[in-house]
Amino acid sequence: MRRSRRAKLQVFRAVTFVLLGAFFLLPIWFMFEFSTRGVGENSPRTLDAWKAIGTYPDLVAGIVASLQLAVITSVGILVVLVPTMVWVRLRLPRLRRVIESISLLPLTIPAIVLVVGFSPMYQWMGNNFSDSILTLSLAYAVLVLPYAYRALDAGLAAIDVKTLSEAARSLGAGWPTVMWRVIVPNISSALLNAGLLSVALVLGEYTIANNLLYPNLQVEIVSLARTNAAVSIAVAVASLLFAFLLLVALSFVGGQRGGRRRNRERLVQTFARDFSGGTR
């Protein structure tokens, strides 16, 4: 009885795995197939579109800009969010709900509405400060806030922040030492997850960049699609694979002592969300 139930469960798992795998991989496969078609009928497969990626300077600039934005946004959000969340847990626990509500707010606001709000700010910044594409990281910090908050909150909930920080304080540690040597090493998985989510989200962002007239990777892909669809699709596949490989690599780097499985689970969720949700 128990054995047959276990066998059924295994079959169910296998079927679910195959279906989900097909759901994620088939579109990528067909994109790859499209990007490798020859020009005429019955033409052999070719990697010309892939080889041409480096020959579009705007596309390369978009790739570089998106990568820089991903790094700046993920580092920036962690630098702001981690000390704030730790401080709220230690000193202002009553404000936790308020902070949580504020942090999750961007989830409820469509990106196009955010653009309307950001537009005057970026106009002012362009006139008085800088119109560099890297200023997009401010808008992206708002976008990734809910995801980063959730990941960090789970990490902080898994340790006794108060006792650990008080123990460190009683041993002579100042607050920077408490943060850097006690809290951060114990939430490394959460930091990694928050970082991965931020990277994935920034690499896939289109709406805000396009409406604020900043040419990031996604904007360049769409732009290129009008003139050379094969190269555009090749870049899209490459960016998906790059994000996936990056997440895998970071998962293994940060997956020490028990956090590895959690990271992989998070990785699959991240990839699924990024891929199925498309660009924001």
């Binding site: 006792t163 008080e166 304080r169 009683s170 041993l171 002579g172 030492t177 090493p185 114990n186 002592r257």
Partner: protein, 365 residues
Amino acid sequence: MTASVEAKPRAGVEVRLENLTRRYAGVTALDGLSLTIAPGELVALLGPSGCGKTTALRLLAGLEDADGGRVVIADKDVTNVPANKREIGMVFQAYSLFPHMTAMQNVEFGMQLHDVDAPERRKRAGEMLDLVGLSAHMNKYATQMSGGQQQRVALARALAIEPKVLLLDEPLSALDAKVRSRLRDEIRRVQLEVGITTLFVTHDQEEALAIADRVGVMNAGRIEQLGPPTTIYSRPATPFVAEFVGLTNRVAGLVKGGEVEVRGTRLPLVKADTPDGPAIALVRPEAVTVAADGDMVPGPLVGTVLSTVFLGATSRVTVDLGDVTVLAQLPTSDATSLSAGTRVRLSMRRDPVLIARDEKVSTEA
């Protein structure tokens, strides 16, 4: 457990808490608490939840700020000194080892912050782990150790920085009874060996009485009584202390001429100046003896056994005297024949008793 420890005995320092006050949103947690701990002394603060004992310890540690009063360590006012500058070692109720470090690294952590050279640091960390009997576990992480081992490492870690004062915030409460008892003795041994001034906070009276040089019984943010464990137990200063520390029978009596007459037995008073009149006498169960009543003659101390509870070396017998139920604590060998329903005669040893006047009492005695 290792016997050959090389911890250097050091002279403790005096600690003074002067008129400390702490309020939380209108609730007074500490109400002008004053306490002086002599150099090298171990004082236990004992009291029920919410009495302010942990608050007092946290103010001494610098983990919270006082609303009033002073904290003085070694004649230096440290009231406004942050926790990391107070030179205090602390063991917490919750397991507080840093999970990403081994036992050795945990013990070395504080010394690193105090700029102790690496070879000296390793040597001293090894000595400290040896002191608590865990040198064989130095490469283990917290998750690989039992609760008792974790608390011993936490003790070694606290002592490794050679603090002026050691603070123990209910460090045994998460442990099972056997480990708790063993670790309690360990802590006392280490404290005596190191000679460090120590404040130990607990709600467990047995723990406080067993480990401390002096016990401070706290209630509502104040110390009700401070004294050696034997005094706290045998001569409680207030009804609260009498009832919180150990079990107590509340028996109606009549105070007259410096004694109280309880059901025909005259008992001396802890406070000889207690005014005459009806009163409730607080009588310890171990001051009550029980004997089977052969002649069945009714009397004020003749009753029926309701139950006998086996506690190991002793047993607790509950006797119904008609208008009141009295507890007696006897050697188990004397209690084996006292099954429920047995007619017994009680007698009370002439230990000094305390009088409570907080409820209406009958003049019948």
